[in-house]
Symmetry: C2
Subunit: 335 residues, 2 copies
């Protein structure tokens, strides 16, 4: 910066002003500085910039799982909204694993990004609370009642209920749920499933298989369902990624979907819409969620608001071809 200043024949402070697009610089000086900077290939040092200004104009984004297209779609929305407000984003992945997620967050804390958006976090509420005391925080795709950070999500519980209602309407009673384990929103989906089953008078058919938000968990889940007890006529997979694994395994086992077993996912990722999948699922307006998350964080950063916001969006069911009326055949006949 010193070099640029002397080459442009001005002071270091003025170069700093030009770099920050200050309006209180004459056109003449501005041009001279920009030219000198260009010639020297000068690029400002964000580290030093931050150290002096305490701002980086950067948002840290922690995605739970890069393999799940849901997160890519959320990112689009966040990216767009952030850019529009003059912020840039930096991403890190939690690898669907608590320790890695914490490491990812630590990186951003050490980098001192202006704020952090956690998409699909697996952190406990206590951990979120303590994180919120260190930085500006928005949690997406998960709901809490905290008043120190914002949350943006769809109503997972309601989504699960819609699924059960849909399947029950088609005549299904033996509706099983492979759950999302520690995944964000998984508990609410599980609860919604249970509540809806009870409401429909299907309490005795409640059957929950432990899983997680991955394709592999779908495969394993089907194996478990096949190996012990009566096979359900419908499966509610905790998310689309898992549903992919379920569908794969069912077909591998010679079961037809939806003739023999109906299947419903959750998230409505681009994957689900594919002709080959054509998965019945619950839609999450990813881009909108992303935009809202970014917007709420930016409101915090610009100190336009003190109290926490908890924005809950209403999901909608997308019926495709993996769900159909209950079959009259039993599993034994099928085999």
């Amino acid at each position: 910066m010193e070099d640029v200043a002397s080459r442009a024949g001005v002071s270091r402070a003025l170069v700093s002003l030009v770099m920050r697009d200050s309006p209180r610089v004459s056109e003449h000086s501005r041009a001279a500085v920009l030219e000198a900077a260009e010639e020297l290939g000068y690029r400002r040092n964000l580290m030093a910039h931050h150290l002096a200004s305490h701002r980086t104009m950067t948002i840290g984004l922690v995605l739970n799982d890069l393999h799940n297209p849901f997160f890519a779609e959320m990112t689009d929305g966040i990216h767009e909204a952030a850019l529009k407000a003059g912020y840039r984003i930096v991403i890190n992945t939690g690898l669907r694993d608590l320790a890695s997620e914490k490491a990812a967050i630590d990186t951003f804390l050490e980098f001192r990004t202006d704020g952090v958006i956690l998409v699909g976090t697996e952190l406990s509420e206590a951990e979120l609370e303590s994180l919120a005391s260190e930085t500006n925080l928005v949690v997406a795709a998960r709901v809490t009642a905290s008043d120190s950070y914002d949350t943006v999500s769809i109503d997972d519980r309601l989504g699960a209920q819609m699924i059960v209602d849909h399947l029950a309407d088609l005549g299904h009673c033996r509706i099983a749920h492979i759950d999302g384990g520690p995944g964000a929103g998984a508990r609410k989906r599980r609860k919604g499933y249970k509540a809806a089953m009870e409401q429909r008078g299907l309490s005795e058919h409640v059957r929950i298989v432990a899983g997680e938000y991955s394709e592999h968990a779908g495969t394993v889940g089907v194996d478990k369902l096949l190996s012990d007890g009566e096979m359900p006529t419908a499966i509610f997979a905790a998310n689309d990624l898992m549903a992919t694994g379920v569908l794969n395994r069912l077909q591998f086992e010679g079961l037809n979907v939806p003739e023999d077993v109906s299947l419903v996912g959750f998230d409505n990722t681009a994957m689900a819409a594919l002709h080959q999948m054509s998965l019945t699922t619950v839609d999450q307006p990813c881009e909108l969620l992303g935009k809202l998350a970014a917007r709420y964080l930016i409101e915090r950063l610009e100190e336009e608001r003190e109290e926490a916001v908890h924005h809950l969006l209403v999901p909608s069911l997308v019926c495709r071809s993996t769900s159909g009326p209950v079959s009259s055949r039993t599993l034994d006949e099928i085999r």
Copy 2:
């Protein structure tokens, strides 16, 4: 740091040593400092750290497209190798768009990450060259002959040739290629396709439709193929993501795969292996590629090597169910 120092009853410099795990600190002082830091919730400021040390122990990773599972798989490999060497990674996305990619890179340059890995970059060779003069650079999934940065990739040209050979062996002559446009490796795949067609005496059947590495491009590509001229009996899509769109559209148009049209993709992403897709494709050992990329960058960072490395891996064909012998029916009969 000052606070931690006074609380622990030592100097600021000693706290710094403890934070950097220096061996020249007595156990007693170390314990005292760590305790004080813990109590005060101290977290070192990476910005200041870098400013003074010129190191961040961080690698910037630019992924061309978050929606393409190929990049998620590469990331796994990079992440693992980086962590093992004590580096952390920070990700940014190019949104499959040159301007965004440049913005992503700029962020890392301003953050002064120790080095940058570009996965599937669309930058020109001149731009890559100039970037390499600013930071330590490794380019993955693309090949150049530069001697100022390393590249790690499979042999795209060979992969394309394997596809054409496979299809030609099945009796196909009218093999069309929907290309990857500005995408990394797309030119090589296009060239390999052309060369192989000529080698097989199928020059007159060479047909290239302009596309890009996206699902949508596959849909559009099929429409183009259907609307003008004779429909090919086989399609080589520039990557798996595009192949998904192609498959989708073909089925929508009532064409059976592989009975009416054979289809081959490229990348062998997890998606391609799904029972519902079962896509014939060319395998890229993503994790290995990622690991190599990280390793080469780290070698550069630790200044173990001066000259550039260009590592080219041999691809392999994975035959699944979207490719089969040429059909005797013509398109008119099908319709």
